[in-house]
């Protein structure tokens, strides 16, 4: 019995492989399992290759898993296009379409001998039972139910809901195709059975969603009443969610004519007193930078979501990467500090988004949420979230006393100046991108510029003490350490669990507040560390380099960095941890040599 199974399936666009993945995830959730599904596509709109990875577990999941336990290839050409995104190993069961006419011993996976390889006449079975090849994905679901014990009941129940409108005939055809899959599996048992353990039972009130929808819902919960943006993969679903729901809360969504107008209208709405948000991905972030600087100098609260994809330029719109960090931290000219928050999974996207609004409001600043394609488009089963435990912060409004002799940009001890809102009598001022005096009037004085820069940066000092925006796992005094942010944090968390089970004394630091760098937190964390890894999906190792700008890392801390799309596997990180430990022991042994 396994507590965890990872499925990877690929086919061409019309094969319905993603829809099969969704049915599998829904069925598993209905049976009380934890599940997570990521999708990956070629960039074609229709047709082209498409794939999904579904991980199902009896335990809470932190990442979409490493090597596949089960690989399903409806054709080899499309499967191979995903390369290391769908890694097959010696413990993988490979199921493929017999119509590909490839012999099981000749499957085109070089350098790997899977646990078992099974050719199944999937399209033939679909045609025979449902009368159409389009039922291939249903046959696959039947095979999975038969061999791995997931969804025997729940898949059919799901069909009944999903296909209700299509009529009895369609439903019956799908049932026949599904049962045919089960039958095939029963007639051809696996050499080594691979069934999943029973779940702990279905929990009511469980949620299932992806990072983009979670982000938008959290924003509305936080009081966001205005969204404007421009469609861009993979962030568009945030705008779609607002377009469907924000009106119900007295808000508005504007699909702007371009990325610049998208952030511009959000800045306008914030100036007018509303909590506002825009969302984009890499190229859009590049376009928005001038306006980000404007929001900083005009000291207007604003939340900008950047769902990272492969870059530079158009890069890889449908694949995740963590390479927008420098752009998020440093783009827009001038001396600016702009907080960056990063969720690590769909569940904490809620907390991080609420926090982003709170920081934006508290510090009257743009805040960037750096998500990525994986979190944004992966579906997860989640435990219910108790929203009543979240605090909502609103900007410091000018009081009646402030308004008697109002200075919008008054230099205060905290650096935060009470803000007025159009409509408030006595509160009129000039917001501007040009440097300004405390009353908002334009200035070219070097002295004023110095004082204003100092105020605008000083106000972020409390962020250096927000330890709640970091998490540490493992033994706090461990000599071995990992640091990871965003979606890679979940992979590292699992790597640390495995490594600790294997006896390694290792810990993990996950920053949710990625910038500004809270130097004290890192100094404290690294105090015990002699060897470590900063793991990230960026070829340059942007986070490692950013850290080094602010923190003297111990000499033994290395960068483990790679370009986007290909996921990290917990197992490969554990391997490197073992190497680091060996090095550490070796160097310590060296030190213990008696001195001549």
């Amino acid at each position: 019995m396994r507590k965890d199974l990872v499925f990877g399936m690929a086919g061409s666009g019309g094969d319905g492989i993603v829809s099969a993945g969704e049915s599998l995830l829904n069925a598993a959730a209905a049976e009380g399992y934890h599940g997570m599904m990521t999708k990956s596509f070629g960039s074609q709109i229709r047709g082209g290759e498409s794939s999904c990875r579904v991980r199902i577990s009896t335990e809470h999941l932190l990442n979409p898993g490493g090597d596949l336990d089960v690989a399903v290839a409806l054709n080899w050409e499309d499967f191979l296009k995903f390369g290391a995104e769908l890694p097959v190993s010696g413990s993988t069961v490979v199921i493929y379409e017999a119509a590909t006419k490839v012999e099981p011993e000749n499957i085109p996976l070089l350098g790997v001998t899977p646990l078992q390889v099974i050719a199944v006449p999937i399209s033939e079975m679909a045609k025979a039972t449902a009368g159409t090849e389009r039922a291939k994905n249903t046959v696959v679901l039947g095979l999975i139910a038969g061999w791995f014990g997931i969804g025997r009941e729940a898949v059919l129940a799901g069909f009944r809901k999903k296909l209700a409108k299509k009529g009895e005939d369609v439903l019956a055809a799908n049932e026949r195709a599904f049962n045919e899959g089960i039958k095939f599996a029963e007639e051809h048992p696996l050499k080594a059975p691979m069934t999943i353990a029973l779940s702990k039972g279905a929990v009511s009130g469980k949620l299932m969603t992806d990072g983009n929808d979670m982000c938008a819902a959290a924003a509305i919960f936080a009081g966001c009443q205005f969204f404007s943006g421009y469609p861009i993969t993979p962030s568009t679903e945030i705008m779609q969610f607002f377009g469907e729901h924000v009106w119900k809360y007295g808000g508005a969504m504007l699909q702007a004519e371009d990325e610049i107008a998208g952030i511009g209208a959000a800045i306008g709405a914030s100036f007018a007193g509303k909590k506002a948000m825009t969302a984009t991905s890499g190229p859009g972030l590049s376009l928005k930078t001038e306006m980000m600087g404007l929001a900083s100098i005009a000291e207007l609260p604003l939340v900008i979501v950047d769902v990272q994809r492969g870059g530079p330029s158009t890069g890889m719109p449908t694949k995740p990467e963590q390479s927008d960090l420098f752009a998020a931290a440093f783009s827009a000219h001038g001396d600016v500090v702009r907080p960056i928050l990063a969720p690590t999974c769909v569940a904490d996207t809620f907390r991080i988004t609420v926090e982003a609004f709170n920081l934006a409001e508290e510090f009257q600043t743009p805040v960037i949420i750096l998500s990525d394609q994986e979190i944004s488009q992966r579906k997860e089963t989640l435990d219910p979230i108790d929203t009543s435990q979240f605090k909502i912060v609103n900007r410091l409004r000018a009081s009646a006393t402030d308004l008697q002799d109002y200075n919008r940009f008054k230099i205060t001890e905290s650096g935060i100046s009470p803000i007025s809102i159009p409509g408030m009598l006595g509160g009129t001022y000039l917001a501007s991108g040009i440097e300004h005096n405390e009353d908002g009037s334009p200035t070219a004085s070097g002295d004023v510029h110095q004082r204003m820069n100092e105020k605008r940066i000083r106000k972020f000092e409390p962020l250096h003490n927000r330890r709640d925006l970091f998490s540490i796992e493992g033994n706090p005094t461990a000599p071995l350490a990992l640091v990871a942010w965003g979606s890679i944090a979940g992979v590292c968390s699992e790597a640390v669990s495995i490594a600790r089970e294997e006896g390694l004394n290792v810990k993990l630091l996950v920053p949710y507040l990625v910038y500004p760098i809270a130097e004290g937190v890192y100094r404290e964390f690294f105090a015990s560390v002699q060897r470590g890894l900063v793991v990230e999906q960026s070829h340059l190792g942007q986070f490692y380099r950013l850290l080094r700008m602010y923190v003297d890392l111990p000499k033994g801390v290395e960068s483990m960095a790679r370009s986007g799309a290909n996921p990290f596997r917990p197992s490969e990180i554990v391997v490197v941890l073992h190497r680091l430990l060996a090095e550490l022991q070796h160097s310590q042994a060296g030190k213990l040599q008696p001195q001549e």
């Binding site: 919960f221 504007l254 007193g273 409509g423 009129t428």
Partner: protein, 299 residues
Amino acid sequence: MSETTTPTATPEYVFLPKDYKSDLKPIWCPGCGDFSVVQAIYRALAAIGRAPHETAFISGIGCSSRIPGYTTAYGFNSVHGRSLPIAQGIKLANPDLLVLAAGGDGDGFSIGGGHVPHLVRRNMDITYIVMDNQIYGLTKGQLSPTSPKGRMTCTSKYGSLEEPVNPLQYVLGYGANFVAQGSAADLIGMTAIIEEAIRFPGFAFVNIQSPCVTYGEESQQIKGLKAITEPLAAIGHDSSDRMKAMEIAQYYGQKFHTGVLYRNPNPPPTYESQVKERQAALSQGALPKEQILDLFIKR
């Protein structure tokens, strides 16, 4: 969507143009047409009588974009070419505000040109005033999108090779419901046009020939403009006739037509009024926002 409690002008109090004038001293050159434009705006606002704190005035970058700072309204002197997106965000966030946007021809028809058609088609109740001087003044005399072909400037040493933008024809072509043109030399006429534009229920565009006394050419100074001025009232133009307005607009740059070129006698509903309707319709029976995650419950 409005949540601000706005004290309104008391019935006894009548606003005067000086109530809209700030203490800030304009950076404009002596004799600049923009002095007269800001005067017209003070007068138009006073005639309408909305309190300064209920007014938001947004601009981009350029000499003329300094204008919000010279008023007592809530001002936003933003970045080059982006007054209109910001103005739209403000209008949607609080439709009760009187929203004005202003800037120069470079701000509106070069760097910010992509925003104009979209505000026009959304028809938000925003008045957009362009101070058109056919030159980049703030950067000291470069070619602008409305500079006539052949114009010699420091960036067109041998004369420009491109046709100018025709702001009137563009905005009419985009489908605007209110298009007018005024002259900085005619304070009374300009005030009347701006007041009518602000009162118009929907997007209104006012192009004002506001000469640059420092870098502008002789033909574009007050004197030169007077020679080609043709008030629309004098030629008996019917401002409800859109096709005729398009025809007249062709002469931009050759003749100087002042007055209301086009005013839709049946203005369509504004964007923000439709938003209000949608908010009212959809908010009934909606999940409280504290329960929004219930949308994700697997049933």
